[in-house]
């Protein structure tokens, strides 16, 4: 079974147009009941990259947080120890929140991205991945019974009529508790093209539409890599 580990929804601005305190006020007013952990301002040197978060606000459980940088908003979710959440719900809420906050700030991002990391348990995951993606020559030679194995793939495709995206998929053998590899980590990164950062301007409806499409896109892609998982993809 796939287990969701990390979800990060990001919005990039073309310039350093986010005033962290103003964004914080928007978050507190709109979503203060959710992000009720203690806010934290990170003292940054003047020459720090504008994508580095200046203010971080977390939920009480500590597994969901918003990171506010001068040119970027990140919404991050990390699997807590005891409970999970449907991926569609997490990503959908992130899209809604990002759209609302940036609308409050009068800003439109030029780039949007969604990163999702999942794990699924598998005995001898290196061999499993090698057999899945390598030919007989490789398997009988240099890739004979590998313990660790990684596959990275990058594509550019049309996610929907409005969005052309980079799609990164990284499959890696992983260790849940040290010792031998016992799982496969699946990382998916779907983001609009960096070349469009300066020209694209996504409004609130675009942002919500992107994340709705992105989660469907991720699901579809992972179904192609692991058809054996059937419908069990998004938990």
């Amino acid at each position: 079974m796939l287990q969701l580990e990390v979800v990060v929804a990001s919005g990039w601005l073309a310039a350093e147009d986010i005033v962290p305190v103003r964004a914080l006020v928007s978050v507190l007013n709109r979503f203060g009941d959710f992000y009720e952990g203690s806010p934290l301002a990170i003292p940054l040197p003047e020459n720090a990259p504008s994508e580095v978060p200046a203010v971080v606000l977390s939920n009480k459980l500590g597994n969901s947080r918003i990171e506010i940088a001068r040119s970027r908003l990140n919404f991050r979710w990390t699997r807590p120890s005891t409970e999970g959440a449907p991926l569609e719900v997490i990503v959908g809420e992130f899209g809604q929140r990002m759209g609302a906050i940036l609308e409050d700030l009068g800003q439109r991002p030029g780039r949007l991205g969604l990163f999702v990391a999942r794990l699924f348990d598998r005995e001898e995951p290196g061999t499993y991945l090698a057999k899945k993606y390598c030919n007989e020559h490789a398997l009988s030679g240099p890739l004979n019974r590998p313990e660790g194995f990684e596959v990275h793939a990058h594509k550019v495709y049309k996610l929907s009529p409005e969005f052309v995206v980079n799609s990164w998929v990284r499959l890696k053998t992983a260790k849940r508790q040290g010792g031998d590899y016992d799982a496969i980590a699946i990382e998916q990164d779907l983001n609009t093209l960096g070349d469009l950062l300066q020209t694209a301007r996504y409004d609130r409806a675009d942002i919500v539409a992107f994340f709705d499409a992105a989660i469907r896109g991720l699901d579809e892609v992972i179904g192609r890599y692991f058809p054996e998982l059937g419908g069990d993809r998004s938990a």
Partner: protein, 243 residues
């Protein structure tokens, strides 16, 4: 100014110059003191014990020059720190920790405190809360109740949140203009920016309500919010300069 000397065996010595008893009592009651002793001078706010932790500290009524018992603890990392039988002679006082569970931290060899503390955000506000926590019943000669632990804790939490935002805010933006006790055991915390005055009323149970006054005295508009969250309090404070 008082100078606090510490040594590796955790013997703490006060060298008294001009520090008076009430000031000493107040300063010892801050978690800053504990943080310094535990070697975390850079991060006093990691130590956020409830306001009640210094309640065990009393002045010996028989002598104005001695502290009878100081007991301080912090739950962070299960560290526990206590002082007992503190003597405070006229010019030299020695505090010897009676028990200390954690030995993982080292004490700084020597540092100054009190008036020489760095320009920490909200320093005066935190000190003011400590001061108010020492009020007794009938502090206003009209039967006023002392601030409740819940009210002090709620006010302190807001101040801590603001102090954690220090990197993104200026001091004048977050420093309260006034903190005052209320007769029902609550607190009034006020911020003032230009002609805007924000009053946060912390009830005896630690709840918040707000009054925002905007405009000069001849033409002032008021808006009130009852039973608001801590997040809303923070938002009101942060947006005060921008309204």
């Amino acid at each position: 100014m008082a100078v606090l000397d510490t040594t590796q065996d955790d013997t703490v010595t006060f060298r008294e110059d001009t520090c008076d008893q009430s000031r000493l009592l107040q300063l010892v009651a801050t978690d800053w003191f504990v943080a310094r002793l535990l070697g975390n001078a850079q991060d006093r706010h990691l130590f956020s014990p409830p306001a009640a932790w210094y309640e065990g500290m009393t002045l010996d009524p028989a002598s104005t020059s001695s502290l009878k018992v100081i007991r301080a603890s912090t739950e962070r990392d299960s560290q526990f720190f206590s002082f007992a039988a503190v003597g405070f002679p006229t010019d030299v006082a020695t505090i010897e920790p009676a028990a200390r569970a954690s030995s993982t931290t080292t004490s700084p060899a020597s540092f100054e405190w009190a008036d020489s503390r760095p320009d920490e955000p909200l320093r005066e506000a935190f000190d003011r809360l400590v001061e108010l926590s020492l009020l007794e019943q009938d502090w206003d000669y009209e039967g006023g109740l002392p601030p409740t632990p819940a009210a002090l804790a709620s006010a302190r939490r807001v101040l801590e949140d603001l102090s954690r935002l220090d990197g993104a805010l200026s001091h004048h933006q977050v420093d309260p203009y006034n903190i005052a006790p209320l007769p029902d055991g609550g607190l009034l915390v006020e911020w003032k920016v230009a002609s805007r005055l924000l009053e946060i009323i912390v009830g005896p149970a630690g709840t918040f309500s707000s009054i925002l006054a905007n405009g000069d005295i001849t033409k002032r508009e008021y808006s009130q919010e009852q039973c608001i969250s801590r997040s809303r309090v923070l938002a009101l404070v942060l947006q005060l300069p921008h309204q």
